[in-house]
């Protein structure tokens, strides 16, 4: 571990280390696959950011710089493990197999969440900070009652640790030994507020006060994140309760495309974190160890370009929602008042169409 008490398996220079507490059993093929994930997720995020700049999305929350934290933890999950994301977990969605274009729907204003969470065990994005950590805990309590061998992972950021809901989730999960892993991406910034404005202690240390282990991992090290998350999930499955993982990373982009970080942080800080880039270190390792050649990297670049191009086409061609959708999903069971309101509005709209004909 480094001076920051950071679990690290792949140094920023691409040097493979070992951590006796977190042994990682991984094949070269798996590391190459993780590299592909990282590149694809970054390319996806770059394309979505461009789409926002071109007016095709109303907003975008970039995952730039957090790819290793998201891909590493996402790839630690087994089928049936359920993930509860914030609104930035594009890398976890990728690992879970959610079609990329589905993530853009809410940012384009087509819907508030356009995928079926049960298809990929990946819940909808949650915008109210920290709320989903309780949903994850409750879902884990359900798994417990089902005597299933699955676990849950709850994503949240450093700012969310100040929320009551997150602290209540820690409490519930702890007293019930719920099979949930709390995965905090400490990207150092909650919009304009640095981590120092949220906490006086390292976030992973908070777990001790709730009675479960906390660990800080290099969030830009996909191998360390994978190893640490696997251990935490195994603990959850074994009925030993929750773990808090603090993935120490950096928000390389703005909070969202509406934000302007130049108003509150120094460019120098970004330059320092660029040296710890999550993708560069895997590439260095693969290159230096002779585990991948130029063709391998070029093929992935090509694949990423094709994905980005398809994404662009998919979202621009996406159909706008139909008007009735406003009313259609408010209740699961029949609701006569809403039905009447819908019919009245449809008739109102149709009255204009009739007028046009005259």
């Amino acid at each position: 571990m480094s001076e920051l008490q950071l679990v690290q398996i792949l140094s920023p220079e691409g040097e493979l280390l070992t951590d006796p507490e977190y042994p990682l059993d991984i094949s070269t093929e798996e590391i190459r696959a993780l590299y592909r994930d990282l590149v694809m997720v970054r390319r996806f995020d770059v394309e979505a950011t461009a789409l926002q700049r071109q007016g095709e999305l109303g907003l975008w929350a970039q995952s730039l710089g957090q790819e290793a934290a998201q891909v590493g933890s996402g790839r630690a999950l087994i089928p049936g493990d359920y993930a509860f994301p914030t609104y930035r977990e594009h890398g976890v969605a990728w690992a879970k197999g959610v079609p990329p274009e589905k993530l853009l729907g809410m940012y384009r204003g087509i819907n508030h969440g356009g995928w079926n969470p049960h298809d990929n065990d990946f819940h909808l994005y949650t915008l109210v900070i920290g709320s989903q950590t309780l949903h994850a805990t409750g879902y884990a309590m359900g798994i417990q009652r089902d005597k299933s061998n699955n676990a849950v992972i709850a994503y949240f950021g450093d700012g969310a640790t100040s929320q009551g809901d997150v602290n209540e989730a820690f409490t519930f999960a702890s007293v019930y030994h719920a099979p949930v892993v709390f995965f905090c991406q400490n990207n150092q910034w909650a919009i304009s507020q640095p981590i120092e404005s949220q906490t006086k202690v390292a976030l992973y240390k908070r777990a001790a006060g709730f009675g479960f282990p906390g660990v800080r991992v290099d969030g830009n090290d996909v191998l360390a994140v994978l190893a640490v998350t696997r251990v935490a999930l195994a603990r959850a499955r074994a009925g030993e309760g929750p773990t808090l993982i603090e993935a120490f990373t950096y928000r390389m982009g703005a909070h969202t495309t509406s934000d302007d970080p130049s108003r509150y942080r120094l460019a120098q800080e970004l330059e320092e974190w660029k040296l710890k880039d999550p993708i560069a270190r895997v590439k260095s390792y693969l290159t230096r160890s002779g585990l991948a050649n130029e063709d391998f990297f070029a093929d992935i670049e090509k694949e990423a370009e094709a994905m980005a191009s398809k994404l662009r086409g998919d979202i621009i061609d996406a159909e706008d929602p139909y008007v009735e959708a406003i009313f259609d999903y408010v209740y699961a069971e029949p609701h006569p008042i809403l039905e009447a309101e819908k019919n009245a509005y449809i008739n109102y709209l149709e009255s204009f169409a009739e007028g046009d004909k005259e």
Partner: protein, 322 residues
Amino acid sequence: MITLGKAINMGLRRALTEDPKVLVMGEDVGKLGGVFRVTENLQTEFGEDRIIDTPLAESGILGTAIGLALRGYRPVCEIQFDGFVYPAFDQITSQLAKMHSRSLGTLKLPVVVRIPYGGGIGAVEHHSESNETYFAHTAGLRVVTCSNPNDAYWMMQQAIQSDDPVIFFEPKRRYWDKAEIDEAAPSLGLHETRTVQEGNDLTLISYGPTVRTAIEVAAVCAKEGRSVEVMDLRTLSPLDLAPVFESAQKTGRVVILHEAPTFLGLGAEIASQITEECFYSLDAPVLRVGGFNVPYPPARLEEHYLPDLDRTLDAIDRAFAF
């Protein structure tokens, strides 16, 4: 004869027996049986995994109930007192109410939130509020309240069977009211208004704890030669106002009685809809009797705050003065 509190207990017990996915969760609901004993003996019968004593955190109760519902369970959450629901307000209004819609209908949230509400028991602050309007104003929620043991028994089961979230308001000062219950079959659906007694001269609409007051008012009016039709709304969202319109068209005079503050209370919505639907049948404006627009007062003043028999009779006199 069964008390209203016991009737809810029996309704919960039957739902727990019939569906293994039904859970009860809240503060002190297990060993203690709840501060009003509504969940008494359930933990002994159904175990700690199904009757869950939770940490003291309302948002936590609702948030984990949502997660359990996503996993296929049907949690019934108890909020210990009306004034303690606000820490869970975000989970109820932003998450529970909207998740079905947000998921374009793919997720179902069959969660019941039980809230003992209203005053009249001499309690300290935060223990006597009628905050149903907040929830009735939130799309995605269903809001109901019972006024008698038979409704309490059946409506609890119907609320648990609903695939939508239901906020279930329990009139706490009526927990000890006794009546017979019919365990064979419910007399009404969850979202139906009941005509408690028929009358020809004025329609008196109420729900929850003040239905008994309304029945007492009608008895006094009868002695004065005024025939009052009493209606128990039962469902606050969606409202079932067709029978109310029919009654208003018959009597031409309407008074609405509830404990909640009148400003933007349910009465305001109902009065507005009656005006739209029954304008030419009305002989007087629709009048409201309710709580004042103040924080719920200390116990020694609550008799002034709570709309009672005399204030309702006064409103009825005013309705007849037009």
